[in-house]
Symmetry: C2
Subunit: 151 residues, 2 copies
């Protein structure tokens, strides 16, 4: 499953003369099937369940490789650890409910457009961005039913 990323990785490896090794397959697999934003230690923990011999150093080397290849996206949520997610999903931003810690993904084309405009006005093009809104429930009124994901 998620063969799109696997194929992508194979292509990248061929292009760069890199080897498609066991550890790399395992780590890529862990990441493509993650629905959250695991950090390196968590990736290592999950990879170790599949192949206990994988070293944390290999995880770091591999995520860097995957990120450089555009297969992975990394996020610094501000707690000191770098978190990763597959880059093949549609871009989204995050609403974080500070009372529960829940993360709600959202997307606003208008905001996407505006930031594009702002960057261009300053003579830049956007490489990436991060938009996190920390919220709490409105005291009045009802919250829209929402599927939310943990970090």
């Amino acid at each position: 499953m998620n063969s799109k990323l696997d194929e992508e990785f194979e292509r990248v490896c061929r292009d760069k003369g890199l080897r498609l090794t066991g550890p790399r397959r395992v780590i890529l697999n862990v990441l493509t099937k993650a629905t959250d934003h695991p950090d390196a230690i968590e990736v290592h923990r999950r990879a170790s369940l599949i192949d206990p011999g994988i070293a944390i150093a290999t995880v770091y080397r591999t995520v860097r490789l995957l990120e450089d290849s555009g297969i992975l996206e990394s996020h610094a949520f501000g707690d000191g650890r770098t978190r990763y997610e597959p880059a093949d999903r549609e871009h989204h931003d995050h609403l974080i409910n500070i009372e529960t810690g829940d993360v709600i993904e959202f997307r606003s084309d208008e905001i996407e457009r505006l930031q594009e405009e702002i960057a261009r006005a300053h003579g830049f093009e956007i490489v990436s961005h991060r938009f996190e809104i920390f919220v709490k429930p409105l005291k009045t009124g009802k919250r829209k039913k929402e599927s939310r994901s943990k970090r």
Copy 2:
């Protein structure tokens, strides 16, 4: 100058039974007159020019204190170091030039409004947010003249 923050800090100290010491004054001063986003090491460097005896550990303890008191805001721009800026300025977001590390502040009322709308649509009110756009210079076209601040 910037007595607003100094007063604020004095008030906080009184309220919490904390002492207004030499090192704390120096570090607060360095931060209130900073127009950029220095990290702890840079704050320490600047503080050392005023009082060479200040230890980096004191910088870390003091910025944490200041942040907990709402006098300072911290940002994790993604290069592993935490950066600080006084919390008394008008809210703004950041464009980060990934090639040079320069940080450009911007403000978009429209984005402010949109995020308000998004939060409300989900049944939340905004507590705070963080919006960082990582950019690189446009290959073509000229960049708008811009006063930019080093990180």
